[in-house]
Each structure stands twice: as C-alpha cells, then as structure tokens.
Symmetry: C2
C-alpha cells in the first residue's frame, strides 16, 4: 500500500459537499466583512474546487504542518487568503482558531491579508505578489522529484497543488515557471486555474485574449477545462492529473463571488466586502441561515474528519523514515533536517587554510567555483544551478550532474534564461526542504528576480544567489550589464545578506556565512576580473561574518580610514601605500557585508570605523554609504551608469583608482584639520 | 501610391545577397576579433535574415534617423550588436564609420558592447537585458497604430521589426509582451525569431522544450517557420507578415556562427572571438578573401544604394507632414514634436492655484486622479494606463477612452497584470514618439518592472510611473504589498526622478516636474490614505522642483529640523507642534524628490537642511537618508518589513508618530548640546 492509497478519490461525490464549500464561503465573507477589507470573490468562486481537493485528495495532517511528505498546497492567488485560512481552520490547524478568523487582517493575527510563511502554520509559502506562487510551486514539485529519486516512494511521494488566477497567468514569471516545469516533466505539479474571466479592471477580455490551455500545452503540460462548480468534474480532473506523466493545468470555469446575487461574476466581488445587505442576500441564496462565523456542528465534524485522516498515513511514514534515516550521518537525515554536516565544517576550515596559504590571484567568481567544488563533495543536499550562465557564473561543480527528466538524481539545474523563475524555484526548493539551493546569474539581472528575492527575505529562508560580473569591472559589455546601483538596491531589502567578498578567502567565508544563515537569503556579488589575495594570514574565525573588519591598522594611529568592498579593497590597499609614501597613516577596512556589520556591537563598529576621516570606495552608486562615512567622509565610486570599454579603462575614466582614493583622503584629512 | 510602395519586395532574390550578408558577418567577426570580446555567433547566424529585411523591406533613411515614419528595427538580442552596427555602417549612417566599427567596445566609441539609444544614431532602443527589446517593440508598434488612428496612413504607416533570440523568448517579460500584442492585434509588429537552438549553457534543449509557434499562436499571433538562410523563404515570410491582421512571429531556423567550420552550431560561437585561426578558416569557407574590415566596393555600393532608397520616400512624407502639421497649435505638431503646449502651462498653474485655495484632504493618489483629469484635457498626446489597477491607482481620466483593437483612437491602455511589459511598452511608446505615456501599478510592484525602469533611466526618456499604495499606509494588505524598501531602491537608479508628494498641491507639482523632465523617467509614489493639505499659500514657483524646501521656519532660529516626505510630512508638522509646546523650535522640511534636491546649489541645500540636528521621517527603510541627516541626525521610519493591520495601527506599532518624532528630536537636541 503506497502512502497515497488512502487518498484514492471516492467514486461518488460527497453529498455534504455543498455545505462544506459554503462553510468556506461564509468564513471568507464574514471575515472580510468584519475586517472591512479583503477579497471575498475568489474564496467564494473556488470553494468547490478547494473542497474537492482537500476532502478527496490532499495528504496532510494539521497536527504536523511540517511533515515532509505532505502534499503542498500553494495559493498563488494570495489575495484569496481567506480560502486558505478557512481550510486551515476547518480541517483543524490548531493555530487557526475561529477567533483568529475573526481577527482577519488585524495586528498580530494568524490571518494576515495575504498568506505568510512562518507566520501561520499550514501556509507553505508567502503569496500575494502575483505569479510568485506558481513559480515557487515549481520549485517544490521539482524538489519532490529530486528527493524521490534519492530516497524512493516510501519516503517521498507527494503532490504540489496550486490555485492560480488570471493575474498569476498574465505575469511574466508564469511563463518561465510553466516552461521550466514542462521541460522537466514535473508530473506531480497540478495547477487549478481559477478561470473566472474577471480581474480588477473588469472582464479579463479588457486586456487578455490568451488561449491558456494552448499556451500550457505548448510548454508540454497536460490540460483540461472543467466546470469549477461541479464536484464530480473536479474530482475526475484531479484524479486524471495525478496519473499524468506531465504537469497538469486544469482550467476551472468559476463564477467570482459565487452565490452573491448582486456581485457574482463581477469585478466588484474581487476586493471589497460585500456589505451587510448583500451578505444577507447571499445567505439566502446559498441557504446558509447561520450567524456570522458560525459553522454548523455537522459540517465542522465533516471537515475535521478530513483533517484527521492524514494522521495514520503520517505515522506510517514516520515509522518508515525512522528506519531509513535514523543515523545522524545519513544523507537522508541531513537532508530532512536541513543541517550542515560536521564534515562540512572541517572541510571548509581546511579549504580556507589552503587558500590563505596559496594566495591565488583569481576572480571571486573563480574562487566561488573552487568553493562550490569543495562543498559539493561534503554537502550532498547542495543543489546548484544557473540561469543559462553556467560558464560565466562558474556555478557548476566538477562533481555535479545536470538534472533532466531522466536524471532526477542530478544536482545541477539548467534554469534557462529565466532568472525570475529560478529565484522563485529556489525559494520553493528551500521551502520544500531537503536541499540547500543556489542559483547563478549576472548581478545586473538581480532586477529580474528581485520580487522573488524579496519574498525569500520576508519568509526568512536560506537560498543563495551567486551573482557574478558585479561592477564596471566586467568591462566591454557596457552599462546594460554593469550593475552600478544593484548592490545598494539589494542592501535595502530587510533580512537579505549582501556579500561582496574581496579575495578568495573572503569568498569562501562569504559562502560559509550564506550556508549558515538559516533564516536569511544571501546574495554573493562576485567579480569577473582577477583580484589579488590579501587575506594571507590565518584567522581563527570567519572575518566576513563580522560584516567589516580592519585589514591594515597603521602603527601610531590613523590619519584616515579607507573602507572598501570587493574588487575595490585592492585599490584601497594600493591607496594606503601611496599615502604611506606621503607619511599619511591610512587604515584599510574591508566591508563585505553591511548587514552583518550593522549587527555587531556599537563598540566594535566604532573601533573598525575609527575616529579619523573615512573614505568609502566601491565601484557603484553611493547608496547608504553615508551611514558609515559620516560628515567628515567622502565616497569614491560611481555617480551614474557605466560604459562599454575594457575594465581598466573604465576604472581610470570613472576615477576609481588608488590615486583618486589617496587624493580624497588628503582632501578630507586637510578639511578635518581645518575645522 | 502609399509611402511603403517603394519597398514592395522584389520577386526574385538579389543575386548579390550572399556577398551582402557576408559583409555583415565579417564586420562582426573582425570587430569582435579586434576588441577581443563580443558576440560573433548571432550576427553570423542572422546575417541572411537581416540582409533580406533591410534590402527588401525596411523603410529608413540614414540621413534622418529620427524620421517619424521610418520602420523601427529592434535588436532584442542586443548582444548581437555588431549585426546592427554593421547594418548602420553599410547602409550609410554617418556616425557609424568604419573607424567606429574598429573601435567596437572601446571607450567613447559609437559601437558599445550592447546597442545604446541616444548614443548611436539608428539605434531605436537600448537592448541587452534579454526580453526588453521585444516588449519595447510592442510599445512602438502600439504607438504606431495609435498614431495611425489619429493622423492616418499618409503620416503614420510603418512596421516594427524585432530580432529576438531564444533567451528573449525564455524571459517572462516576453510572455507579457506577446500576450499584450496579440490581444491588441498589433499587426505591424513582426518578430524574427533567431531559432538557432543554442544558448549560453549549450543546446536550448538543456533547459527548454517549448513549442514557440504554438505559444505565440495561443496568444493570437500569426506564425511560421522558415530556413533562416534561404533569402526567398525569408522574403516570402516577411511579405506575408506585412499583410497579416495579427502580429507575426517568424521562426527562422539558423545556424549560430554560420560559416565558421569549427564553431558553427555550437555555444562556443556565442560570446567570444573566433580566434585568428578560425577566422581564416571562416574566410575560406565563405569565400571572403578580403582583409579585416575591408568591404569590397561593389558590396558597399549595393548596401549604400539600399540606404539611399529611403530619401525620396522621406521627402514625400515630409511634404505631406508639412502640409498637415504646419500650425504650431495642431495636435499633430505637438505630438510629433513632443512638446508641452502653452495651454498646459496655463491650465496647470490655474489648477494648482485652485488646489491651494481648496485645501482638499485627500490621498495623493486621488490628487493624482484630479491632475490627470485636468491635464488629459490639455495634453492630447497623454497616454494613460494601468497594470489592472485602474480603480486603485486612479489613473484613468474621465475623458480618457480605453484602447481596444477596434478603438485605436483611444488613449487609455489596459495593460493587464503585466507590470513589466507595461513599463517596457511605455518605453517603446516614448521612444516611438507622439505620446507622453504613463502607467500605474502598486509601488511594491516596482520590483516587477524595475529592469524596464532602469532602461528608461539609462536611455534618458520621459515615461511616468504612477505608483500608489506607497507605504505601510496601505494597511491590511500586509508586508507583501507594503513597499518599505522600494523608495530607497528606486532612488539609487541614476537619472530616475522619484517623487513622494505630501499633499494635493505637491502631487500636482510632481506631475508637472515629471511632464517637464524630457530626459528622465519619473516615479510618482502616492498614498492610499488621505493626507491633509499644508500647501495652502500661493507660490510663484514649483516647490517640488527644488527637491526639498522649508515648510515651517520657526521664528528665532531652529533647535531641530524635521525632514519628511509624502504622508510623513503631516506627522512632522504635528511633531513640530508638540515640540513648540515644549518651547522647542522645529523647522519642517518637505523633501519630495532627493534627486532634484541634489541638483540644487550647495548654499540652497545647506539653507534647507540647516545647522541644527536633523530628524528624517519616512515610513520606509532608511536607505540613503544618512546623506541628509549627517552625524547629528536620526531617522524615524521602518527597520524591517511591514505587517497586516489597519494603517493607523501600523504607524503606532512601528513607532512612526508625532510623539516618536518629537522624542527623537529632543534626544538629538540634548545629545548635540552635550557634545
């Protein structure tokens, strides 16, 4: 008996279906009404589909929302959050009480406006920004197949279901996600398209004429169209989808605001309370005579029975897992527990010692390649990839094997030219569990996947972005590819660790920080061009983890402090030599991660920054450097877009040179003495 | 005879075709070789297609690259820039000399790594970031139809041709663009897909299995597949596309690096010089015995004849245009000249005076709605739109009419849930000329269209983004929709004007600045919630244009300066009252546009900021505020993501209140006195 056998669909529709679906509808209606804001139309429209899905198919146990082999349910149309909260409450997730439903959209409630991962048990991913859910679900469905290839059906055998609306499918990220899922034949992915023909401006016909089925079919999906209010049709379609060898899109024709005589089928049902009068009319129309927030006992019992059904399945799974994953050192154990193995710590320390001794003059992207080669051998759950820039990002370890539909035991994903879906997919992979995913692209294209990076930061998940070609130092490709403002723009995203390492050792330390940051995503900004090694003395701790630290401390006190990141640390070091020749004592600080530096004690920060005038050096827009430089400081960097020319010409023409830094230092020392 | 008649395709292929195509190939090969960097594979592969397009169809005149009725050619696969530079040189664009070709990718050359609009005559739009070109072209093709509906075939009758590669079509933005173009039936748009089956990682089959023809067909496009090295097939396909009532995608099967015995058909031809040995082999294989950069005289003459062909067509057009657009006041004249009419200046001044007197307490998005209602009546070339948030962004004027395939005389675009394509399309509309385009979405979704906003800034074009729901002040929708870091992240994009107006008058002034910024894109960050009017005294100049200005100057000198933007100006004003009650003299500064403030004189900036401690107030991440606040300052704002709750609760819980600002002021005054 497989783990899914219990969820074999019933032959006949449950006669209580309508009541159960109405329970969802009225919890949504009542919660939106009480909050005086929210989106009732979608939960009302998709209540039938959700009821069939949860009552006849979903494998889950409200008592253990983190059970690894549960089916995943992703509400890509996140504004319909009350659909999800109603389901969580009705099936018995302890945290989602009726009181929390009543506190919909209130401060501190478990029921915020859009579903938030980590905040509400049972929410698999944060959604709301359209299209993110479906692309994140692709990552989950991919992770499931990858894990299945490693650990077999006994441990990994589940589906990923998505409810997506017109808005999700209009977003560009949906194309990337659909195309990737079709290519990889992710047959455990089932998208339920809420095909209601309405978006905020009105009929979708105002802006869209796509043949959605044709479009999904063109990307290798199975497709069908059903009446989204016919439980038997829904059941049949989902049952068929579960047997498909391809991902499936089921277009569910629904009526937005189903049951509301005055609002159904109109954009007016989408994003505002129905209003007391219309609510009463809807109660009458749907034969739901109950008070607000009241779920009749028999309906609640039916829903709770569904919620209770997964317990035995989960227990059987746990038994199997206990047998197969008992050893602390089994890869399965490490994967399921998301922990770094002890061998990693040893190997990384050894490798950093080696780099310190070898002093390679290489690009930090090359250093990163070496790091990946090393860690791939000790982290079996490392999952690499790049958005079609493998040979530029240098993201593929020698030992990594490409994933294809036929090689799901591989550990390197060719994401294609799909930066946005890649970022969302690695979010999904991290959320699914079992892997530490990273993905590569050029730093300039951080703009393409920014919405997914933001969600990773909001969710607090460990994903790692390897972003190479991190400044004008990439040279001839010119301003479209030179990320002058990207470092600054990433630094303002809360809970995102932005690293700009300056040599091979710092690159390894940055990777180490990123791997250990269990509740933060990281971006590694890496150079195309070679950088000299300066971390040539052994250290007993990870210095990048301090955010910023002193590289050169002049004897006899500082006249000036030069603070730099990445490729500009070498320039600052050269500038310090020029200044020394003029008897000016310059300290040099490397600041690979502003976020981590901010977390250090005020004393440490003051010690590093020092009381002397400060010169910041970064081949980028100033952004928030003023925070570190203070009134007596000056920034040497970019003041606009870059240009197409060899890198050394650009550094010279844009005035980011040792001489320019030394000049700025002299200028500020003199000014400080004069004042 | 229509303006296009001269470009009716010849019945037979030009026998000189191969030589002409090889001229493109070898200019590309030689330039990349000399630069030691660049992308030869695509120009070599698409030389035949480009030769047929330019020699048999394109309407253009190298003597007047800005001729409004020229056909537009967009190289969406911008890395193949040498294809474009070769065409510009061969057809006779004066600026693109053979010496500039030889200076490919060098400092200051007209031939940068990727095509740059405004830098090289004949380049219609900056490309390189994949997918942008095709989406920008949708805007151009839309603008053509809109202009045609207004001014007729005599004045507006041209095509938009795009060369797009696999990468462009994998990017999500391509879906949005294709879907929008298909919906609007933009039949003057013809996409030539460089279907070479190769991307950077290797065979596209590594990452993509899409049926591209099926996908375009699903979005309402005409499609066909041809041999991209067969001139007759290319000609036939383009000729048919020009007759279609829908946009057309022609999949051109090509061989990347065509003619290079050792590289063709391989990703190795994509992004690196062939190397001297392989170049010689290619010369032999293609029977091109000429020296590097040498174009045989007869081949150059053939190309120059093609370049000269458009002159008479353009002259005839100019004659027609002179007759129809001679009056300074004709809308056609204004549209073609992109100027604001005098009536605009009068009406805007009058409207600002009215707002100053009326003192409405309204959301700035509502104020913006009023502005749009007013300016739509005096700017016939204003073109509105929203990414499916019309009723939330309040972007549609009462007098505006929706654009549909049947109503191309309309002036409001329902872009659908396609923020990215909207931003690229308004770039294309602005580049095409004839309109001042604006588009609306939520500020949080600035992350979705950021790559296109960046390109607008890089190109220096006037497009206006109306971004509402600009802070935690949007309330219950929660952190996914609350743009805490977006204002800061937009401020770091060079040449982008980011406005955050604080009341109705400032909103009108910000709109005025944006409309007058002919070489900068603008983002208007607008509140969902109502804000009190404080600009209640008439001003003889646009104060927002100063970037920041003093709203309250206390008599007897300042103890502290409170600097705020947007919705927080009201909080700063309240804080000043609290401080006044304690006998503390607080100045209040409104800082609606940091970029414009930076452009003011040092004296003016010092006067506004003042010598007293400074408190910055913005319901957002600090970003680059330290630049204004200095060592003695403090920032009152957000320190992480928002939350779902009513707006007033959020302001209280996150400590952005008059009392908190007053506390910060007292703290800093005391600290300053102590030091």
């Amino acid at each position: 008996m497989t783990a899914n056998a219990l969820h074999k669909p019933a032959v006949k529709a449950d006669p209580a279906h309508a009541e159960m679906a109405n329970a969802i509808r009225f919890l949504a209606i009542d919660a939106v009404e009480k909050a005086k804001s929210g989106h009732p139309g979608m939960p009302m429209g998709m209540a039938d589909v959700a009821t069939v899905l949860f009552s006849r198919f979903m494998k889950f146990d409200p008592a253990d929302p983190a059970w690894p082999d549960r089916d995943r349910f992703v509400l890509s149309a996140g504004h319909g959050s009350m659909l999800l909260y109603a389901l969580l409450h009705l099936t018995g997730y302890e945290a989602v009480t009726i009181d929390e439903i009543k506190r919909f959209r209130q401060w501190g409630a478990k029921t915020p406006g859009h579903p938030e991962y980590g905040h509400t048990p049972g929410v698999e991913t944060t959604t709301g920004p359209l299209g993110q859910g479906i692309a994140t679900a692709v990552g989950m469905a991919l992770a499931e197949r990858l894990m299945n290839a490693r650990y077999g059906d006994d441990l990994v055998d589940h589906y990923t279901y998505v409810i997506a609306g017109d808005g999700c499918l209009m977003e560009g990220i949906s194309h990337e996600a659909i195309s990737l899922a079709g290519h990889l034949k992710l047959n455990r992915l089932i998208v339920l398209f809420d095909d209601n023909g309405i978006s905020i401006d009105g009929s979708t016909g105002l802006a869209c004429s796509d043949d959605q089925l044709g479009r999904f079919a063109a990307s290798g999906w199975a497709t069908c169209r059903i009446d989204g209010h016919d439980p038997e049709a829904i059941e049949k379609a989902i049952a068929a989808a579960r047997q498909s060898d391809r991902p499936t899109m089921i277009a569910c024709r629904t009526t937005i605001g189903f049951g509301s005589p005055g609002r159904q089928g109109s954009e007016k049902a989408h994003g505002a309370p129905l209003g007391p009068e219309e609510v009463e009319k809807t109660r009458a129309a749907l034969h739901w005579p109950h008070r607000p927030f009241e779920v009749p006992a028999d309906v609640l019992v039916s829903w709770r029975e569904i919620g209770a059904r997964g317990r035995s399945v989960r227990q059987a799974w746990k038994e199997r897992a206990r047998k197969q994953c008992s050893s602390d050192r089994s890869p399965c154990h490490d994967a399921l527990n998301r922990k770094l193995p002890a061998t990693y710590t040893e190997r990384m320390a050894q490798f950093i010692a080696q780099l310190t001794a070898e002093r390679p003059k290489i690009a930090t992207r090359q250093a990163s390649q070496h790091v990946i080669d090393v860690i791939a051998t000790v982290l079996p759950n490392l999952l690499g990839g790049s958005a079609d820039l493998t040979h530029s990002n240098l993201t593929k370890a020698k030992t990594q094997k490409s994933v294809t539909p036929a090689t799901m035991d591989g550990n390197y994903i060719h994401y294609g030219v799909r930066e946005h879906a890649m970022a969302a997919a690695i979010n999904g992979i991290a959320l699914h569990g079992g892997f530490i995913p990273y993905g590569g692209t050029f730093l300039a294209f951080a703009d393409y996947n920014r919405p997914a990076i933001r969600l990773a930061a909001l969710m607090g998940i460990r994903v790692i972005h390897v972003m190479t070609h991190d400044s004008i130092g990439l040279g001839e490709d010119g301003p479209t590819h030179q990320p002058v403002e990207h470092v600054a723009s990433l630094r303002v995203i809360p809970n995102l660790l932005v690293f700009r390492p300056a040599d091979a050792v710092e690159t390894a330390e940055a990777w180490d920080c990123a791997l250990r940051a269990e509740t933060s995503p990281s971006v590694l900004c890496l150079s195309r061009q070679a950088l000299p090694a300066f971390r040539t003395e052994a250290s007993d701790h990870n210095q990048v983890a301090l955010g910023a630290y002193v590289v050169v401390e002049p004897e006899g006190g500082r006249d000036v402090t030069l603070i730099a990141t990445g490729s500009e640390v070498a320039i600052a070091l050269e500038a310090a030599k020029l200044l020394a020749a003029e008897n000016v004592q310059a300290a040099v600080v490397s600041a690979p991660c502003f976020e981590l530096f901010r977390k250090q004690s005020a004393e440490y920060r003051a010690e590093v920054l020092g009381p002397a005038p400060r010169i910041g050096v970064e081949a980028a827009i100033e952004g928030d450097w003023a925070r570190w430089l203070g009134d007596a400081g000056e920034f040497v960097g970019m003041h606009g877009f870059g240009a197409s020319a060899p890198a050394e010409v650009l550094y010279r023409e844009f005035g980011i040179t040792p001489a320019a830094v030394a000049d700025a230092a002299m200028r500020n020392i003199i000014r400080a003495r004069a004042s």
